[in-house]
Symmetry: C2
Subunit: 972 residues, 2 copies
């Protein structure tokens, strides 16, 4: 019996082919010597290669569509390798593995050997190394960890330890999430560099020499586990003014032939020394990022001039200059900062929102492209199911009765979708389409895998149908079939109860569960909004609604039979009810307006006043002038701080059944909502449908829903960071500097990835979202969330398109539908509800369908776990790693302070975890699974000893907010 | 005694370091095999590097001012060499030695060895190889031969025989001069390719498969001496549409990774095959120029895609495709055309004017920037003097009493000035300024050499003053000195008589010649125009005028003493004389208008009616629309075919002295003229002063002078080609196709480099110009010459500036002054006058001054020749080649048909040529001095045997229009 999985796993043990033995040694060896008595200027040649933005990722790779933007990554890598070979002093860093991977697989073995050598010698250094440089405001930690893992695994597999990045590098994302820093720390990075932060913040930090800091990125994890040394780059990620020598720049090259005109060496040296001496940093080391977007396509230009710069500037040392300039990398620079052995400012909040000027808050993209944001989130859920079934279904899942399936296509699609111009919504329309298409293609590949996997687990090879348009009540099978079954796969580590809504044309159905027990079900008339948004893609007139339960990491199967086609039992009534309620919740309505008026938790006997309505901010149009900032894909800038009320009253319909009660509200032809309470739910669902936003008045619109309550929140509210830890927000306030607020709305917006809440001493109203959205609390007791944006002007940040989404099906403008789940709780126990609730929203059950009768031998229920995981533990990742092993991530999903019950360490026994998998060995990895955890050594920036803990290799303890990552050697 | 100079001259004997022994063998070896049964597509990777245009030559070299145009030649050469090394199949051609030289001298020895190897293997091939790609319409053959010699010599010295271009390559010049073809033939080129010709001509040639032709470029030289195979490139010099893969292009790259989106190999192959099969050429070989302006800065983009193109297109051969695509060069392509052994259309006229559409005649640049054109011409004269004195003065001339001087700086400045966007006037203003500055700097270097050389020859080291502004009567020395001497250096091989005009403030002077004999001289009041144009740069009120004589290739010295400061003896009279005349000529004036009315040659007793006046064409402004062509730097497009008369009458003054008679005419504040007849002159001088052209009316102006005569010229006129052979022009007619005339004025303009004439059976009126100008004969007996242009719109050919010349001294617009020399003769003997006259204009005497008394021992007269050359022989070149040898070019300056007396072979004895040089050996070279003449072997395109002639090595016979080039081994 092998207790460690390490020995059997070749890929992580891949030893460096050449000179280096440990990263520490490499760095030592490959960094150029600095001069302790001089100002050392670290020149870092780099390229910033967006994994899609103005062009698609493949267009960027090839250099296609250069009419849109000149950029061709294949040529960048060709050129840089060539130029590195010309002078061993030169250095380069590469960041985006999505591109590097594309390039690598087209190289011959001799080139591969050359590159390995450059990597081994530290001349080519990977930094960050994820598949992409993820967005920080709109991504979910689950997908970020996955994309980082994929990129870093490629580097590990390809280059071994010498290819492992030591530095995280988020030079472009538009604000920085604390959770990202936490993840980077847990991935083993020694430090983190970025380029964008609030202009007031930067000024303050420059004044106080605090552009380098120690980010304590978790209030729950024991330091230094989530501590990350963070450096703010001096000029974004660009070179100093006048020193851009890329082909895309027009700065004067160094003209050093005295026989030719315009000899300028003296001028260049003088300008450089001026700039270097004006930079304010703490040590005698400064960094200059010598590169920018898609630069180094012709690296010769850069290097030829940098060689000369170094030569001529250092030649001044003989004349008394105290400036020493050298080729460097972020890790070499970081090493020098570490050696300086100074103390660094501590930061515990985050870097949101980001403003680059007084009226330029990059808070619009928190909500831009809400449909893409939802599709990305849903795709993550589907991918996790796909990953799990690849493990649970074994080899047959990828090559089985339904053909060849794979999870890799969707993993890659999800990985590129995490890019900071992907799910962020800040790409051009055709690029957004490309991301969506990739996800769809990935899901097609996964569907085969899922069908195969479920066939293995259920013992049935009946054809399996997928209904991807259930949110608009389209599903050809259920619309026409008289008898079908629904497989409900639950990717969570706990059982789930879930409402199923199926488009049907019958008026009465019988539903039975896996045990054959009849299940309460109801047929409701389809809302007219759904008729409208589905266009001609479906023809159901009703919806069959019932609640299902599925076991952890498994499925349950429900059978549905048509009973009759006659008139509906349940019908809508054109009125507003006074209240709707179930055992747990009650909400009341104002009969005059049709709006919500109060919200009660019947279990805790809490009640708050609560009204909710829809508004739109009039987007600033920039007065058609470049000097005045318009709202756009990135930037939110309302023309007025007072949003327009769409309607003070709602037209309502009410429908009440044993399964669900719905109040359907119409506010305008383009805003409607269903207030929905399921019989067994502890959460109130608000299903909003917004669009097409009208633009015939030539006004850009940013639609919010605002919930106004009696909670005494005092302009304090809470938002999650990448779906994990929650941070406190306060209106017109920043924790680390005295804010001069210049945008009363946009300057108070924060990203909501999965939840936001307001609270006072007794009440906490939590809203769980189904996608990333921007939101704020502008007034006491109020919480607003931006749902949809339609803008008529570009916001002059490069995308060069107004965010004005249309499609072939919605030429008049996109209609978006989504859900908010509201819960009212006591603050001390609210997390006990919103934590699992948010995970259910993120990893929602996958419904698959088979037509006709179920095969009598079919297994109708399955759980991959021996038992449900404890409430505090989330099964974050279960995915096949190689033929023998699977990657498992377990997560403590509570912050240390948020639950009396759950914010405690919890222990799981890995050997007793799975029902169908025998775990033969286990080894713990860092978060990104590119290093054995016990071999992970990070620079210590604040000396602190964590005492070693001894326990059984099988006993895994998770402390609050911990994620632990394991490689399991398994047998089915 | 060595009769051949060859053995002693190392540079031309430089043997190839590597594999090649003869050019023929190289070509054989280095060209890729073709397939005789297929259509072979020769892909020729190339870059077109303007030696100045939108940026200066040094800015282009460095890649400076990329804000104006992205272009950096240093990087092009870096990149191409790198990429050639990556795949031995790849080929590249390089053209402009001005750039290659700049690059080469910055390379280390290992790179030099690498490049030599590439050249030896034919992977890097030099084509054309001159210092620049000269303009063909506005250059003088003397300067063109010099710049070609300089470029080709560098290649010879550097690379030996493998670096010798076999193909002339003028892909960009805007029309093609027959004399250029003649020169290229005599330089040993096997063929010539160009890209631009009249669109009607191209269409015709495409229809008739005559885009390849044999150009018989001289009516005097015995074929095939001036025969040149000429190929017209299929798409200018650009790649076919859709196949531009430079970084500056946006065509889709070949996307051949089936795993990525947008795989397009099938589409690319299909498009390529379509284009190839649509090209109409005579053989089964076609050429595609894969490059364009300043392309290949990142050669990887081109080559990576070309590699793929070749691979995928040729892969189709297995599927039956009959197209074979290969990397090639012009010489490899030419070799295949030669092997085809076909007959080719014969062409004896030229390719002027060039029109790219019906209203787009590139005939404006014949006259654009008249001041630069004159300065270039004058600089050539000064350079030839400088060259000669370097030979005659020996080593002291470059390092003597006045310091170190050199001719090389000016040679280079003149060489770049020959570029087709230099003297052509089609560059941006700042670039025009740079050319002028380079010429000025070159002349400063030469002045030291000239002073040293004259010190050697005269035995006097007295300080020598140069007066470069004599044309505007500025010369500080003569303005103030009471006693000074004038050294008149004559660079011609015959004695010269020349009028000297010196700005003075005295009113009477004594002048004596070298023998001490008194010389008739007169002091004239300075014209008010000169007062105006010199601005504050001089303060002379009078001009001292006298005629001097200088011996061949030597000087004579004149002493000048102030006699008195009192009132002027000669004064102007405010009237029009009836006539002015000397022994040879008489011109009459119309007293009512002040205009010329007749012109008589008293020796031949010819008289013609002749009026002359000034007009302006109203430049088309393109209606501010891109679709309508405006006049610009390149294009002449008058708004109306009828020019505006500036004034029907001239205000006149008359002054009559024994030395000169002048009628000063004022037509407007911006047009004046002096009609001038010197006592001993057989030519009438018209000194025009035009400018600043007024633009307050927002009308662009193109000023001409028109001479209307009684000559029955029937719309036939004659213009020279690059200052050498004269071609007949006929209004609205082209010799090789039926012209559809769409621009009655611009479509009849031709370049005049040194002369134009009209004639009938008895009279020929010849106008010799002092610079290149455009001109035409629109009416019977009429000849018009464009003098100055000022335009308010860009003509959309890339220069992106209106041709609107101003300067610090002339902020209101440039004033230009020049001279036309008119002679009236019998047609059969007119050339006897205009040939030497034009040479005197081109190689005019250089005046230098010393202050005070002459040293009593000073040698006041010197001739470097034992005797004057025969009238038919022009001393074209005498320049130091290396320490032991000098380069000599002798030229027969008459066409075979133009003179009864002089159009005959003439013999010169080289050993008896020089007075101060002992000629120890002689070897004859080709015209560009990069090959021994007897080793020059060219492809024979029309089989024809020239019987060998036997004669003494010293006896050199020149047949009409022959230039012969010798390397002489000499001793002073």
């Amino acid at each position: 019996f092998i207790t460690s999985a390490k020995e059997a796993m070749s890929l992580l043990a891949l030893v460096c082919l050449s000179i280096c033995l440990s990263v520490f040694k490499i760095t030592q060896k490959s960094c150029h010597a600095t001069k302790p008595d001089m100002l050392n200027v670290h020149l870092v040649p780099h390229t910033h290669d967006d994994v899609g933005w103005l062009k698609t990722v493949d267009q960027y790779y090839y250099g296609d569509r250069n009419d849109i933007q000149h950029a061709g990554v294949q040529y960048i890598l060709d050129s840089v390798v060539d130029q590195l070979l010309k002078n061993p002093d030169r250095r380069f860093i590469y960041v985006e593995t999505a591109f590097f991977y594309r390039w690598w697989k087209r190289q011959d073995s001799s080139m591969k050997q050359t590159v390995q050598q450059l990597v081994n010698e530290g001349r080519l250094e990977f930094v960050n190394g994820g598949w992409c440089m993820s967005d920080e405001a709109t991504t979910h930690y689950s997908a970020v960890i996955d994309q980082m893992t994929m990129g870093l695994r490629f580097l590990n597999d390809t280059f071994g330890v010498c290819g492992r990045p030591r530095v995280a590098w988020h030079i472009d994302p538009f604000g920085h999430a604390r959770e990202h820093a936490s993840m980077f720390a847990q991935m083993g990075y020694d430090g983190f560099f970025f380029g964008r932060l609030d202009y007031q913040d930067r000024y303050q930090r420059m004044m106080q020499k605090e552009q380098e800091l120690l980010w304590r990125a978790s209030d729950s994890l024991t330091p230094p586990m989530a501590d990350l040394f963070t450096g703010i780059l001096p000029n974004g990620y660009n070179p100093p003014d006048g020193f851009c020598w890329d082909q895309s720049c027009s700065d004067p090259p160094i003209r050093d032939d005295p026989d030719l005109e315009d000899y300028n060496v003296d001028d260049v040296v003088k300008r450089f020394l001026n700039i270097a001496s004006s930079m304010v940093y703490k040590t005698n080391h400064i960094i200059m990022t010598m590169g920018s977007d898609f630069q180094y396509e012709n690296a010769n230009l850069w290097y030829k001039n940098l060689d000369k710069l170094i030569h001529y500037v250092n030649a001044q040392q003989d004349l008394g200059s105290r400036v020493n300039v050298l080729y460097s990398t972020p890790s070499c620079y970081l090493q020098e900062l570490h050696r300086a052995n100074l103390t660094w400012a501590l930061k515990t909040d985050d870097f949101f929102p980001y403003a680059d000027d007084a009226h330029d808050f990059w808070t619009g993209y928190f909500s831009s492209r809400p449909a893409l944001k939802r599709y990305e989130r849903l795709s993550n859920s589907n991918l996790q199911t796909c990953n799990q079934l690849e493990v649970l279904g074994g080899p047959t899942s990828t090559n089985g009765p339904f053909g060849k399936g794979d999870s890799q296509t969707m993993k890659k699609a999800m990985a590129v979708a995490q890019h900071h111009d992907a799910v962020s919504g800040t790409e051009k329309q055709h690029v957004a389409n490309d991301y969506a298409r990739r996800l769809a293609t990935g899901w097609q590949h996964c569907q085969v895998l899922v069908s195969n996997g479920l066939a293995v687990l259920s013992g049935s090879t009946a054809q399996r149908f997928y209904c991807d348009y259930l949110n608009i009540s389209v599903c050809p099978l259920t619309e026409s079939s008289k008898k079908f079954s629904v497989n409900v796969y639950n990717p969570l580590g706990r059982p789930v109860t879930w409402p199923v809504r199926l488009p049907v044309n019958g008026t009465a159905y019988a539903v039975s569960d896996a045990a054959g027990t009849s299940v309460d079900c109801q047929v409701l008339p389809l809302s007219k909004d759904t008729h409208n948004v589905r266009r001609s893609r479906g023809f159901a007139v009703n919806e069959l609604v019932f609640e299902v339960q599925a076991p952890p990491l498994g499925f349950s199967t429900y059978s549905v039979s048509l009973l009759q086609d006659g008139p509906l039992a349940a019908s809508t009534q054109p009125r507003t009810p006074t209240a709707i309620q179930n055992k747990f919740l009650k909400v009341t309505f104002d009969p005059d307006t049709g709006l919500l008026s109060s919200f009660s938790n019947l279990e805790t006997t809490q009640t708050i006043k609560l009204t909710q309505n829809f508004y739109w901010y009039n987007a600033s149009d920039g007065n058609n002038s470049e000097s005045i900032q318009p709202s756009g894909a990135y930037i939110f800038r309302p023309n007025s701080s007072t949003p327009f009320l769409i309607s003070s009253t709602a037209k309502t319909e009410f429908i009440q059944t044993s399964v669900v009660q719905e109040v359907r509200q119409w506010f305008s032809p383009w805003v409607s909502q269903v207030v929905r309470l399921y019989a067994h739910s502890r959460t109130l669902e608000l299903e909003w449908t917004v669009g097409p936003l009208p633009i015939h008045d030539d006004l850009g619109k940013e639609v919010i829903t605002r919930i106004d309550t009696s909670i005494e929140s005092s302009e304090i509210f809470y938002t999650d960071s990448n779906g994990r830890e929650v941070l406190q927000r306060k209106k017109d306030f920043r924790p680390t500097w005295h804010l001069k607020q210049s945008e009363p709305i946009a300057g108070n917006y924060y990203p909501i990835n999965s939840r936001a809440y307001i609270k006072d001493d007794v009440d906490q109203l939590t809203v769980v979202t189904d996608r990333s959205q921007g939101g704020s609390s502008i007034h006491n007791g109020s919480l607003e969330i931006m749902l949809h944006r339609r803008l008529l002007y570009d916001d002059v940040r490069g995308v060069a398109e107004p965010l004005n989404e249309t499609s072939a099906i919605f030429p008049e403008g996109l209609v978006v539908r989504g859900r908010l789940l509201l819960s009212l709780d006591r603050p001390a126990s609210a997390a006990d509800k919103h934590r699992p609730l948010a995970q259910e929203m993120v990893l929602q059950p996958l419904l698959t369908f088979t037509d006709g009768d179920l095969h009598p031998d079919a297994k109708l229920e399955f759980s991959g776990l021996q038992a449900a995981l404890p409430p505090a533990v989330h099964l974050l990742t279960l995915t096949q790693w190689d033929a023998q092993s699977v990657l498992l991530r377990l997560e403590h999903q509570f912050q240390s302070w948020e639950s009396d019950v759950n914010s405690k360490p919890v222990t799981v026994n890995l050997q007793k975890l799975f029902s169908s998998l025998e775990v033969l060995g286990v080894s713990e990895l860092n978060l990104s699974a590119n290093q054995w955890k016990d071999e992970m050594k990070r620079f210590e920036w604040t000396p602190q000893n964590v005492p070693p803990t001894c326990r059984s290799v099988w006993e895994v303890t998770l402390k609050p907010m911990e994620i632990r990552t394991f490689l399991l050697r398994v047998r089915l």
